[in-house]
Symmetry: C3
Subunit: 265 residues, 3 copies
Amino acid sequence: MIITFLSDFGLEDEWIAVCKGVIKGIAPAAEVIDISHQIESFNLKKGALVLATALPYMPQGIHLAVVDPGVGTKRKGLIIQVERGDYLVGPDNGLLIPAAGRLGGIQKAFHITEKKYMLKPVSLTFQARDIFAPVAAYLARGLEPQKFGPEIAEKDLTLSPWNEPEVFTQKIVGEVIDIDKFGTVRSNISPDHLKRVNISLGDSAKLILKNSELSLLFLETFGRVKPGEPLFLRDSSGYLCVAVNQGSAEEEFDIGVGDRLTILK
Amino acid sequence: MIITFLSDFGLEDEWIAVCKGVIKGIAPAAEVIDISHQIESFNLKKGALVLATALPYMPQGIHLAVVDPGVGTKRKGLIIQVERGDYLVGPDNGLLIPAAGRLGGIQKAFHITEKKYMLKPVSLTFQARDIFAPVAAYLARGLEPQKFGPEIAEKDLTLSPWNEPEVFTQKIVGEVIDIDKFGTVRSNISPDHLKRVNISLGDSAKLILKNSELSLLFLETFGRVKPGEPLFLRDSSGYLCVAVNQGSAEEEFDIGVGDRLTILK
Amino acid sequence: MIITFLSDFGLEDEWIAVCKGVIKGIAPAAEVIDISHQIESFNLKKGALVLATALPYMPQGIHLAVVDPGVGTKRKGLIIQVERGDYLVGPDNGLLIPAAGRLGGIQKAFHITEKKYMLKPVSLTFQARDIFAPVAAYLARGLEPQKFGPEIAEKDLTLSPWNEPEVFTQKIVGEVIDIDKFGTVRSNISPDHLKRVNISLGDSAKLILKNSELSLLFLETFGRVKPGEPLFLRDSSGYLCVAVNQGSAEEEFDIGVGDRLTILK
């Protein structure tokens, strides 16, 4: 059984190894595949985006994800069972929600309360080791999710770190959820949203980014515009992005995570 | 069989992959789990601390660790057999000693001299590849440690990179062995030492850190003091730390690795 | 079957995990070993050097390598079958050539054209996911390389990112192909070239590095000269290097990648 693992723990210290040791101790046959441990500390949006982008390519399995600004508070621990058959394990802070959507949607969710499957004493600061890693390992061994605690209704889960865009007849109002290392601006808008306002590959549309109003083409790849020129496209994350060929859309339009992005047909 | 692997080699160059290739060539069934390869270059204290913190969570196995300022000199190569049944493989410079203590203590130690199990020619600069990785792999295949060289008495091993603290009737004199990335000051003092001077959770004690004399509470977690206030606690490494809630004890008290830390009941 | 994996994708984003997910989906029994993902972006020389240095230590297998400044252009995708029996998979830009040489030389090469084994739609920007990772996985499952496309003659492959040095009766003219993190200057010259001009360990030779003309000893290791003094040696990459004991040859001689290095007997 595969257990994927995403966190913001970094690679300098012992935290990742400790969690892997806990997993191998409980489920020696589990194969752990790292997704990333270099998510910026406490950056829920980045963690949720990387998880949602990676998991559809992963085989069915257990997916452990910990970006957890609320560790030590009353936030819940979760197991989410998705339509594809996978289990997602992590904090109830929205981190797992976009990935669950990409794996067919939430089928059931469980609040982890059963102390029998936790390391003792449960620390207040390292619940990845004491709660989430052991739960992921026991799931990999075949334990059923209801063994770990009561079911929790989908409506009671903390929402995704970003909102769904608002889609009107000729307008989509979204937001910036990530800037990648090339300065490409990633939004919460998907190609499906574009379809609903009848924008197809090759079409031009008006985009409002913070203080800039632009007429841009929806193209397949950077290379379709000249160096230094902007465009919008679906990048490998599956989300709509604003980019500048061989340049930085972030700098060009002075825009950051959380800013609004409006597309007008 | 699991082989864990810690080093200060970094991830940019080929060194880690070369060692893993050597291991897989000798012991194809071994599973290599990385602990960290981003220990600061030649920082024995950091390497020893990360190793000692991670190994108790790892399943029984072979543990390869290389932070080796003395590579190419006459320092010995070691196999340490610990009470828990694991073998630790690495240079005789103290790196393995705290971890051996956490795994029940040293049972036997061996000086690696047998050239039959080394890659030839043995380079002067890359003994991880030529000596330590092959020895770890042969141990994983079940070779007995005495095959690799003569036994060496525990008293002849290089000591831990830090001293044990001195414990008096009402006083512990320790030292700072690490500063973590949040500025938390990690000492060589353990909760067991505190017990011997009758300090328990919730108690107040006087701490002398370099030039500062403080009255601090021994608490379970950061959140028990107000933001900006100091405390001392047992962190996830198992050692006693001085921390500032949402701040940096390192900066607050102008203290660094090697400085003395005294606790008075 | 082992699949090794080298790239310049970094570890912050989802790219590596996505490729591993694709591999495990097609070839669940394959074991993926990372060589490095922190090759400087688009640095073909560094990628080729790390690959050529690591692979001789790896067991026979499939070797996936992607440093690909030409992604999205007409450059070909390749499978190279080497004398040792391994398959190398990656772009036709010279990246795989030095490693193929170290594994006994090229036996056959194939141009990847068969769409049946690609992910659809093939993106223009992420061919590691859509072409190279699936091809590596199908090879690991035992598919024969001719299934993926037509054979291509060795003479039609893009050459190594560096030239072979020119060897005269008493002179070798080479170039700098890498500077390691200690400032050691790595050249394209091998000990075999030195043999051909009759330079052996312990000999002195004249080296011309850009603007400096030096008389240096060819020694086994740094420690054979005083701190601050230069030497030349064969480092763990197998190539000839100019180094300064406890110093930086790069700074000392103001020399960089691509500069010429001449050795005179």
